[in-house]
Every structure is written in structure tokens, then in C-alpha cells.
């Protein structure tokens, strides 16, 4: 799925929407199965994003350019 580009925010929102729909319980079977499959994919996506995310840290220069940040003492932070 092309959803790896999806923002965590959107994925999370969709996931919660799907859970809500399933909780309402009046979804036809085929749709429920589709939703379930989608929900599982989204939850995996969210999970992977949370697990694998690496913080991007940049400094905003006065001219509006972002440069990778160097913070003293950051090296020994956990």
C-alpha cells in the first residue's frame, strides 16, 4: 500500500475511526472484513512508525533555512 507515506496523525485517526465503526456493530460483513483488514494495516503502520521513528532535529537559521542541529551535551543523553 502507498500508505507508508501517510502521516502518523492521519493513520491514527483512521484507525480510531475504523475501531469506532466496528464498535457500532452495524457494518455489513464484507465491509467489516475490509475495515478490519485496513485497521490491521493501519495499526501496523502506526506501530512501525512509533517503533522505528528517529527524531529529526534541525536548526532554523535566520534566513529561513533549516540545517541539521548540533547540540552540545546531546551525545550522552539517552
Amino acid at each position: 500500500m502507498a500508505e507508508n507515506n501517510m502521516m502518523f496523525n492521519d493513520a491514527m485517526e483512521q484507525l480510531e475511526e475504523i475501531v469506532k465503526l466496528l464498535e457500532q456493530g452495524d457494518v455489513p460483513l464484507e465491509e467489516a472484513l475490509t475495515l478490519y483488514q485496513k485497521g490491521m494495516e493501519l495499526s501496523k503502520l502506526c506501530h512501525d512508525k512509533l517503533k522505528n521513528a528517529e527524531t529529526q532535529l534541525v536548526t532554523m537559521m535566520k534566513d529561513g533555512k533549516e540545517v541539521p542541529a548540533e547540540i552540545e551535551g546531546e551525545g550522552n543523553a539517552q
Binding site: G39, S43, K49, T55, V58
Partner: protein
């Protein structure tokens, strides 16, 4: 009316107290002086004397206000007090009732802070209704603080640990000293030109002078004008700045600001796993229920005995067919019966019979007419014969047969002797001829014997 010119002490004191209380200048005073005779009562009230070289006045600070003081007042300290003046009637003394107290030295700052706070509050910059909602999952967190130092380190560490998904954008900013206000304002404005989801504006702990930039109006307004939600994080927990009042959310420390800015990855992972479990459980339950329903349907009476579904209909059709046939036969029979009856009635009323009857009647009437006429003729015949016989009997000829004669004189019948005279000629008609006579004598009959 008694005109006693002497007032009671209480009345006079009450009057004096009223004068004090009515004076607007005495209702809210700022006064600077040296503390002496400081006594902290067990109740928490602080009694002291405020003095300078030329004057002194008794003062009190009640426990409710004293509790919020950040320093312990001691004799010999120069302090700045805000409060009001009133009269304690029992001792006849006017007193300073202190509402707040600050050690001198920061006095100017304190005043400026209070004044700005009041001004901005009146303008509505602190209104809860104006606070912006923080995004749940910020993708970009802007950090406006000094490039080095504990604050930025704490913020970065916390953001990384909690929510590595967020991109951190640092805005190196001068947060104290000359140019700090301008730098902070610029950074806030620059951050507003990015697509950041939340701003953390702050710095680490320091003296009131160090933190002062965050009590400046320009900074407060820049925060208020920010279209991106602002979390303030200035100094330590005990430090409260104007920036904190204006910010959409106040964090006690930079670390706390980072915690408020992003959700926890651990909690989110749990939430995602929780959602998975909920989905799985819902789906399993759903499928199980559908399965149960399917089994129920399969075992249901109509599904198990499909022929019984239409059996009643067959019975109905058959019954209806029978009824239809029966009804058809009955109707036909009724119709033919009626036809026969009508034919009979018609037959009975046929006109030929009536004609025949009329003919019979006519014949009978003809016979009766014949009979009647014959009878009438016979009657008339007999009447005629009888009349003829009577007539015959009465005929003068018959009488003449028996010897009678009819006298005529001059053509007329003579019925009396009076008609005659002697010598008259008299003709006599006899049965078989006439004779001529002459009257020779007349002998009338005795009239008397008549």
C-alpha cells in the same frame, strides 16, 4: 431631641474609620519601608511595624495573604508593600493591612509586572476562551529558546524519548539581556511562517532579571498573536511570567513543556495495540455471531422442511378449486331451474288460450243471443195469435154471425134512438148483405128504468 454634644469614643472612632475607608487613595497603596517588630502569630497572621527615618506605622498581613509569600519577612528588611489603610477601632490605631509584600530591590520589576498583568488581563489576552487547542500528534515542534543550555537539552531529550515522530525545529533565540525581547518576538514570528504544529517558548531557571524578557509586553503580544499554539516554559515551577498567562498552555519547566507538547510513544504503542485487540475481538465476536445466526437459520423449520413452506398454499388452491367447481354447478343448476320456471310462467300466460276462451265466450254469447231472439219471436208470435184471437172475437162480423146488424144513417153508425126521426132512412148491415129500411115508429125505452 437630646442635644448632647459629647460623642462616645466608639462613635467617634467609627466616624474616623469611615473617613479612612472612604478615601480612594488609602484603599490601594504601595508603600516602601523597613520591617521592625515582626511577629508571626501561630494563626499565620504577621504583625509588624513599617518605618523609615521619619515615621512608623503599625501593619498586619493576614495568614491568607501571608501564605503565598515567597520569602520570610524579618526585622530590618526593606520591603515593598501593597495594601490598604484602615482603623482598628479596639486600639484606636490606623494600620496598614498588607495584601502583598516583596523584598525591595525587585520593586520596580514587581510593579511593572503587576501593572502589565492588569493591563493585559483587562484587554482579554489571558481569556481562557482565546486559548488554542494543542494538536494531539504534532508533526513539527518549534522550540524557541537559547541554543545552548539545560532548557534546550531537556526539551530535545524529552521530545525524542516521548515522540520521535515529531520533527524538532530549533529557533536559536536570545532569552536574556540586551535584545532578548526582540529576539524572542522575531523567533515567534518566524516560527509562525513555518508549518509547525506547536511552539515551545521558554528558558531555564534564573533570577528575576534573567527571566524578565518573558514579562515584557512585546513578548506577551507576540505569543498572543501566534497562530500556532504556544506552550510557555519559563524558569522553575515557582516562576510565573506574563508569558505564562498569555500562552495557550503553561508548563512549569522546559521538560514539562516537551511532555505537554507531544504524546508518549509508549502510551501510543499501547493504544495502537489496544486498538488491534479491540478490532480483533470485535471481528471475532461479529463472525461468531454471524456463524451462530447462520446455524440457527439453517436449522430453522422452513429451511429444514422447505416443502412445508408451500404445503398450506397447495391445500388452499385445492380447496378453492373444489369450491369453484361446486359453485359453478350450483349456479348452472339454479339458472336452468329459473329458466324452466320462467318458461312455465310464460307458457301459462300464452295469449292463444285467452283467444280460445274469447272465442268460446263469443260462441256462447252468439248461442245465447239466438236463443233469446227465438224466444222473443215465439213470445211475440203467441202474443200476436192471442191478439188475433181476441180481435177475431171482437170482430163485428162475428157478432153479426150471431144475428146482429149494424144501423147506419147517412154513413154513420146509429147508437141511439135519439139520432133517428120518423121517416128516416136507415141502412142495416147484415152478415151477408145490406138492407134499406124506413123508420115507422120510434119507441124509446123508459128512461126511468134505465
Amino acid at each position: 431631641m437630646a442635644t448632647d454634644p459629647y460623642l462616645s469614643v466608639a462613635a467617634l472612632t467609627k466616624y474616623i474609620k469611615k473617613k479612612f475607608d472612604a478615601d480612594p487613595h488609602l484603599r490601594d497603596v504601595y508603600v516602601k519601608g523597613e520591617l521592625s517588630n515582626v511577629k508571626i502569630h501561630t494563626s499565620g497572621h504577621i504583625y509588624f511595624t513599617l518605618k523609615d527615618q521619619k515615621a512608623r506605622m503599625p501593619a498586619v498581613m493576614f495568614s491568607a495573604k501571608a501564605k503565598s509569600m515567597k520569602f520570610r519577612p524579618e526585622s530590618g528588611m526593606t520591603v515593598l508593600i501593597r495594601g490598604d489603610i484602615s482603623v482598628y477601632e479596639a486600639s484606636g490605631q490606623y494600620q496598614l493591612y498588607a495584601q502583598s509584600m516583596q523584598p525591595d530591590g525587585i520593586g520596580d520589576y514587581y510593579l511593572a509586572f503587576e501593572q502589565l498583568k492588569e493591563k493585559l488581563s483587562k484587554e482579554g489576552l489571558f481569556n481562557a476562551a482565546r486559548k488554542q487547542q494543542l494538536p494531539e500528534f504534532p508533526e513539527k515542534v518549534a522550540v524557541i529558546t537559547a541554543q545552548t543550555g539545560a532548557a534546550v537539552r531537556d526539551i530535545i531529550t524529552t521530545l525524542r524519548r516521548r515522540y520521535p515522530l515529531a520533527r524538532i525545529v530549533l529557533f536559536p533565540t536570545l532569552v536574556q539581556g540586551q535584545g532578548a525581547v526582540q529576539s524572542i518576538v522575531q523567533s515567534i514570528q518566524q516560527a509562525n511562517r513555518t508549518d509547525s504544529d506547536v511552539l515551545i517558548v521558554g528558558r531555564g531557571g534564573g533570577s528575576i532579571e534573567d527571566l524578565w524578557a518573558f514579562n515584557e509586553e512585546a513578548v506577551a503580544r507576540a505569543i498572543y498573536d501566534s497562530n500556532i499554539p504556544v506552550i510557555s516554559a519559563v524558569g522553575h515551577e515557582t516562576d510565573t511570567t506574563i508569558a505564562d498567562f498569555v500562552a495557550d498552555l503553561r508548563a512549569a519547566t522546559p521538560t514539562a513543556a516537551a511532555e505537554l507538547a507531544v504524546p508518549s510513544r509508549i502510551e501510543l504503542l499501547e493504544r495502537v495495540m489496544g486498538q488491534r485487540q479491540v478490532m480483533f475481538r470485535l471481528m471475532s465476536n461479529d463472525l461468531e455471531q454471524r456463524r451462530i445466526r447462520l446455524t440457527q437459520l439453517q436449522n430453522s423449520y422452513p429451511m429444514a422442511y422447505p416443502d412445508r413452506l408451500y404445503r398450506p398454499f397447495i391445500e388452499r388452491i385445492e380447496r378453492a378449486t373444489d369450491a369453484l367447481q361446486r359453485e359453478t354447478v350450483l349456479t348452472a343448476r339454479r339458472s336452468s331451474d329459473r329458466l324452466a320456471m320462467l318458461s312455465r310462467q310464460l307458457e301459462n300466460r300464452k295469449p292463444s288460450d285467452r283467444i280460445r276462451q274469447a272465442e268460446r265466450d263469443l260462441a256462447s254469447l252468439g248461442d245465447r243471443l239466438d236463443q233469446r231472439i227465438t224466444q222473443v219471436f215465439r213470445q211475440r208470435d203467441q202474443q200476436l195469435k192471442s191478439a188475433i184471437r181476441t180481435l177475431d172475437a171482437l170482430s163485428p162480423l162475428k157478432i153479426m154471425d150471431r144475428g146482429y146488424a149494424i144501423p147506419f144513417k147517412e154513413g154513420g153508425v146509429v147508437k141511439s134512438v135519439d139520432q133517428l126521426e120518423l121517416g128516416d132512412r136507415l141502412s142495416l148491415s147484415l152478415k151477408d148483405g145490406d138492407i134499406e129500411t124506413v123508420i115507422e115508429a120510434i119507441n124509446p125505452k123508459d128512461k126511468e128504468r134505465d
